[in-house]
Amino acid sequence: MQSCDIAVIGGGLVGCATACYLSAAGARVAVIERGQINQGASGQNAGSLHFQLEYRLIQHKDKLAAELEHYVALTKIAIAQWRGLETELGCNLELAMHGGLMVAETPEQLQLLQQKAEIESRQGLDVELLDKPQLRRRAPYLSDSIIAALFCPPEGHCNPRLLTPAYAQKAIANGTAVYTRCSVDSIQRRCGKWHIGIGGQAAQACGGKLAADKVLNAAGAWSGEIAAMANLHLPIFPVGLTMNATERTGPLIPHLVQHVGRKLSMKQVDDGNVLIGGGWSAHLQQRQGKWKSDSAPTINMQSVYSNLSTAAAVIPAIESLHLLRTWTGTTGVTPDQLPILGEISQAPGFYVAAGGSGFTYGPSYARQMSELILSGKTSFPIDAYSPNRFGHINMFMG
């Protein structure tokens, strides 16, 4: 039987990045991935680095005041980490931090932007409200219907095709064992160790089982299923989302573009394709009344029409571009929309890193988790994200 210090379940961004940081500190790490590295939401999302508060968070601003303060503090850490990431990983990630615009089309939306700018400035996030003449100069590609936008200079995008594989490469160089096409079939705690039963096409690569002192559940939308194998509840729920990519075109959109009142995110990657998303739903597939975790959600055509119409209303020039493909992915949401980061108190040595804005904050979640796993402490407080905030659901488990 293979053994290691830490078994990381899930070869997505958070799993690979945490494995990278853990192994850099000398830990013996194994990553177990059911399919391929970067196959899930980490590779299927649109790669936005969005640091402005999202509309959905602003809506509950009174209730969330304390959380907002914490959120902005985390954002500052994330921005610093992103700025150094290409140097840290030693490769081109197609990282662009040329600023992001959250646009408004109506006076009501403008008012929201103003409220948002006030909160964000108070918390120390760098934002600037641009009026129409300023927008004409700085973002001439925007539709005439856009009356204002909130500009956040560090926002931008990074290519999700490249980030997770870069972390995986680095993790391997640090000595991490990566087992792809290996599914986790069972998780048991015996004699102070976690015993993981492994199936799947390539199970023989690790002899079908793995013993580890600690386990990190980084299985994204499916981390609830993984937790269940360890007799634990985890409140994370899969949702299907839609993304669109146009053919390549010349430089058109230097910014990350979002909308304060409509579901939209747009950006242009280095290769010239425009990626269009923003949270439009796709249908999760079911098998015998359960979500099918091994199939991509199916496309909801109305989502596609609405997403493209919203995009064309904001940036009319995209109308003449060809739509190359629409794809769907599954992400995980938690009841309070915050990530779940930490050790489950009923199961010592069982850690979770799932949910939240997994791409924008993925590298930061990973760094904090590696610190927590190695030393029990973190350089940035993540107690607010602990799985134990839902502790009562595991009161009789573990």
Partner: protein
């Protein structure tokens, strides 16, 4: 250069299209790909790195025959020619 087969083939009165600004003869029913080949055009578009490309599959699958037709990039082999069409070849794809 390509040649229209005339033996045992009757076409209607010729129509006229613009290829890169020059008037050229075409016949109803022809595809833009046929009209361009018959006019001696071989480079239909250039890739981002500047490589020349021209028709390959002639059935709408390969996208190698794209040209700008009345402002939009289209597959020449799948577009039936119309009188007065403006066809632009060769240009590299740039932002709309």
């Amino acid at each position: 250069m390509a040649a229209r087969i005339t033996r045992q083939v009757r076409r209607k009165q010729p129509i006229s299209v613009n290829i890169d600004g020059e008037a050229s003869r075409a016949y109803a029913g022809e595809t833009v790909a046929s009209v361009l080949l018959a006019a001696g055009v071989t480079v239909f578009y250039r890739t981002r790195s500047g490589q020349p490309r021209g028709p390959y599959c002639n059935m709408g699958a390969c996208f190698e025959c794209q040209v700008k037709i009345d402002g939009d990039w289209q597959r020449a082999c799948m577009t039936v020619v119309e009188d007065g069409m403006n066809i632009t070849t060769g240009a590299r794809k740039s932002a709309p």
